[in-house]
Structure formats: C-alpha cells, structure tokens
Symmetry: C2
Subunit: 336 residues, 2 copies
C-alpha cells in the first residue's frame, strides 16, 4: 500500500521541486539555479534517484495530509517546502562539518567553494517559504500563514540544535540532557514539522494536528537514538569496519554519553582522548557490560511506543494512518 | 522634521529588534542569542549606537508607512524584518568576502568561527520571517502574506546578485549590463522592498505601492552609483589615500567598467593586472579624460531624478513624502 502511494506521489514531489528552482527571479542568475539543481539531484532529465536522497520528509507531509483529509494534493507545496528546507540545511551543514561527499557526489562547497555554497543555501532556504506561500491558492491564506509560522519555529529549533552541535564539538563531555536538546532541534523538529504541515494543509482538527506533531517528534527522536545504536552495534560495525564506529569518529551519541555519565571503565578510557580502531571491539563490549546498549534500546523502545500511541491518538483510522504506521516501523526497524 | 521623526521611531525599532532576538525558541540555546545580540549591537543596556549601523532601511519602511497612512506603528514588524534581513546578509557576506572587521568590531565569523557564523546568519534570517508574521496582528493576514512574498522575492534577488558578485571576482572584465543585474540584486532590491513593505503595512493603493517601490529601486541604484563615484573621486581619494581607491582594490565599479568598455588607455592598463597605489593619480585622470566620470555622474543624476519622480507619483503629498525626499537627498548628496 505504502509502495503504491510512493509511486503515485513521487513524480508530483519532483515536479514541484523542479518548479521551485526554476524561479523567474533566477532568470538573470542561471549559475545559481545550476547549483540548486545539482544539489537536489534534478540535473538529469528524469532526475537521478541516487542523487536525490530518500525524500522521506515530503512523503511524511503528504501522508499526514492524506490521513486527515483523504487528499494529498493540497499539501504538495508543504511537501516541497520541507524537502527544500532539509536540503538547504544539508548545504550549510556540509560546510560547517567540512563534509566533502554527499550522496556519492562532491558537496556544493567542495565543487563551487564556500562563498557560493553559503549563498546557494540561502537561496534554497528562501524557496521553501516561497512554496508555503503557494498554500494561499491550494488551501487558503490562513494555512499559508500558519504553515509559515511552523517553518519559522522549526528553523529556529534547527539552528539552535546546530549551534549546540557545533559548540559541543570542542567539548569532550556532554550531559544526556544537552543531548536531548540537541537532537530535538537537529532531528526531531523537522520531522515533527512535516506531520504538522501535512495536517494544516489537510485542514485537520486542533487535536489531530497536535497528535500528529507529537508522532513526528517521537519518531524523529526514536530514529536518532536508533541511528546512535547503529553507529556502535550496526552491521558495518559487526562486520569489522571498526574505523566507521562512532567511537573512533568521537561522536557524542547516546550510548557513548551514557557510558561517560556512568563513570566506569568506558568513561576512564574516553576522557583520555581519541579512540583507535583496534580498541573498538573491547570498548563496544564494555559499553554493553556497563548497560549502555540496554539503556539505548530502552530509550528507542519508549520513544517508538510514544510515537505510535500519538499516531493513534490523532484518530485518523484510515489507510493514511496505516501507511504512516508502516513507514514509521520501516524507518525504526531498518537493519536492526 | 526628519531628525525628530528618527528620534521618535528609533527606540521602537530597537525595542522590536530586542524582542525578536529574545525568542522563546532560543531558551535552550543561549549561545546563539549572544551572537545575534552582538552582531545587531544590542549587547549593552542602551545598545551601542556605533555598533548598530545606521538603521536606514527600517527608517525607510516606517517613513513609507507614515507617508501612505499617517501612522508608522503598524509597520514596526516590517521595519524590524528588513533590518534583520540586512544584518543576516552582512553575517554571510562577511564570511564570503573574508571581511574581519565590521562597524569597528570583529565580524561574527572572525569571533566565533565560520560554522557558528553561518548558522547564526540562518537564525537571523528566520527571525525576519517571524517579524513579518506579526503583521497578522498589527495589520491583517493578507498584509502578512503579501509582505512575506516581498521578502521572498527580495531574497531571491539578493542571493542572485551575490552569486554574480562572487562569480565576477574571478573575472577581470564585466559588462555594464551585468553590473546593473548585480547591483539591482545586491543593493536596489532591498531598498525597494523597504518602501514596498511600508506601503503594504500602511494599506496603500496599488498605484502608490508601485511608485514607492520604484522610488526605492532608483534610490538604491543611484546610491550604489554614487558610492562607486566616491570610490574613485571621493574625499578619501582626494586627500591622497590612493590605497583606498577602488582602482587598487580591483572592484568592478561603474566608472571602471565604463573605462574598460571604452577600450582606451585605461582599459589597456587595467587588463594587465593589479593597480599599484602610485599609479592611482594618473589613472584617475585618464578615467576623467575618457569620460568615465561624466558618464557615472550622468547615470547618478538620471537615477536620482527617476527616484524623485517616482516618489512624487506615489501621490502622498504630506510630511511623509517630504521626509522621504529629504532622506533621499541626504543619502545621495553625502560628501559630494
């Protein structure tokens, strides 16, 4: 069911993204449009699927719109807006993190330099507001105004989370409280916004809106915690590529922060400085012994349950709800 | 009259900017707010005037609102929005241009590093949309929606102009046509938006809106051309500080591009590479001989006249119009 839905909506999402970057204002500035098309994977005739990312966020928007109203079409501008926003944040994050590769290709700053990349990100961000203003036509002025406010609040949350993330890079130790602040800004805020924007475009009741936004927030948090779990005990790690472990990368993920707060053998090693690849197997086991794995799994479990309960509370009781449930489970159970 | 108006509105602009950066979403992210307050010059109790810039743009917004409705208060969110937008673009421009000093203090990237600076710029940009959404309360939903669209179009224009500007840095020669594209994006679009936003907040007629927007556009273009003139024949240059001349800085300004297009002695020297300070007096004279000064003055004159004619066409016929006229003349005649 979900697969058919994706096949149905995917061309509409891509068409809207193409329309967004072919903005009349860019006529005098074709070079800028070229960068945006490259980053969004819209260069080829049909678009290269591998260059585009998974388009999970616009899918969540359309599913929410469909769940509350039986109709996904009015939410298309909102779906495009979150994908543009997500991609804008990737352009800037890649500069901030010095990442040279994204989706198997050179990142924008690596290809065009930092100045043009910062500027292209700003333009892409602007286009997401441009999309939301189209809701005046597909829905009404109030939906446009409210959706814009959602995007604003989400971006303030995102930039707040990113601020913490960058600041924490220089810090060797981080509290679990700060971790939740960071990921609620960096990951959960946008996922929550996807559901809320879909609900607004579908003219949902206040109660359904709130429940769907909660579903998105818990889904985002749970997804991040699972990602942290995979960063230490995932397939890549199991097959022995210890260099890819979050331990070596020095990331401040939940199991690592739990180990640090425990103050045991793991913490004693962690505070001494960078972990080498050959230490990974032992430290991974120590984390299990000290309860970090069980703690992380319990958190993921709790958040997943809260997500599914919130989805149910939205009271859609239709195919839309079923597909959101299916998508959530597929996101949360991947590879595990 | 203008001086009293400025004294009356300045505290209201600053209060709104303070309110904007004290956003509830930042509660978990105080470090981000610190950066924004620093950049806006809002750190001290009363704000340090020298750190704040001239606040010309919000003043234009309020004057336009006052000219069309006799009331500047409803336009306060729009005034704050343009100042936030302007300051966001300065944070990103300073990174892109590698500028280390702004208003006599270290720039944000120099003080906090590029990653936090890019991110702080994104947050500041977001706050300008947040301000415009407040028009729902001070005016109505339609004003908020339309003003947001103005901000969007302006930013697409700004990023387009900035894209050209950065791209042109590597180019030694630039056509005068491309010059107009660049400055219409980089300078004129935002000034035009200030007037248009003030007119929208003041519920102006369609005709007045258009005329005021035109006034802003011509004012912005004229201002830039005058700035170009000063960059070669201004006071600093006259008093012998040749190193500050746009000739040495290698800027692509109007008199220089005119000289290049003329293809005479100036052009022959320009294409050979960087100009030294000791060559400035002779090249400045050659530019005059080849007609670049007269051409630049004629363009400034033409644009100023178009600006003042557009202002008159808006048909406000009141103190607001007089003050806009006064401000325009003071901006355009400074130092010359």
């Amino acid at each position: 069911m979900l697969t058919e839905f994706i096949q149905e909506v995917k061309p509409a999402i891509d068409a809207e993204l193409r329309l967004a970057v072919t903005h009349p204002e860019f006529r005098s500035y074709p070079g800028l449009e070229t960068i945006l098309r490259y980053h969004l994977g819209l260069n080829g005739n049909g678009g290269e699927a591998t260059d585009q990312g998974k388009r999970i966020r616009p899918l969540l928007v359309l599913l929410a719109g469909y769940a509350v109203s039986g109709n996904w079409q009015p939410a298309i501008p909102s779906a495009a807006a979150v994908e543009l926003l997500h991609n804008f944040s990737l352009i800037h994050d890649d500069i901030e993190d010095k990442s040279e590769i994204r989706r198997g290709r050179e990142t924008v700053w690596k290809k065009w330099g930092i100045p043009l990349a910062i500027n292209a990100g700003d333009a892409l961000y602007t286009l997401s507001y441009d999309e939301l203003n189209k809701l005046c036509k597909t829905v009404n002025e109030n939906a446009a105004y409210r959706s814009t406010q959602v995007l604003i609040d989400t971006c303030l949350h995102l930039t707040g989370g990113q601020h913490l993330d960058i600041s924490f890079e220089k810090q060797h130790i981080l509290s679990i409280d700060s971790y939740w602040d960071m990921i609620s800004g960096k990951t959960a805020a946008l996922i929550s916004a996807c559901l809320l924007l879909g609900a607004i475009a579908g003219n949902a009741s206040v109660g359904s809106e709130k429940s769907l936004a909660d579903f998105g927030r818990f889904l985002g948090l749970s997804f991040q915690v699972l990602d942290d779990w995979l960063g230490i005990w995932g397939e890549t790690q199991k097959t022995g590529k210890s260099s890819a472990s979050d331990l070596v990368l020095g990331k401040k993920t939940l199991p690592i922060l739990y180990g640090v707060e425990r103050g045991g053998r793991f913490a004693q090693r962690w505070i001494k400085g960078p972990i080498e690849s050959n230490e990974v197997p032992e430290l991974t086991d120590i984390l299990i012994d000290e309860g970090a794995q069980a703690f992380t799994e319990a958190q993921a479990e709790r958040l997943t349950e809260q997500a599914l309960r919130s989805l149910k509370a939205a009271g859609c009781k239709n195919k839309g709800e079923e597909m959101l449930n299916e998508l959530a489970l597929s996101l949360l159970k991947r590879e595990k």
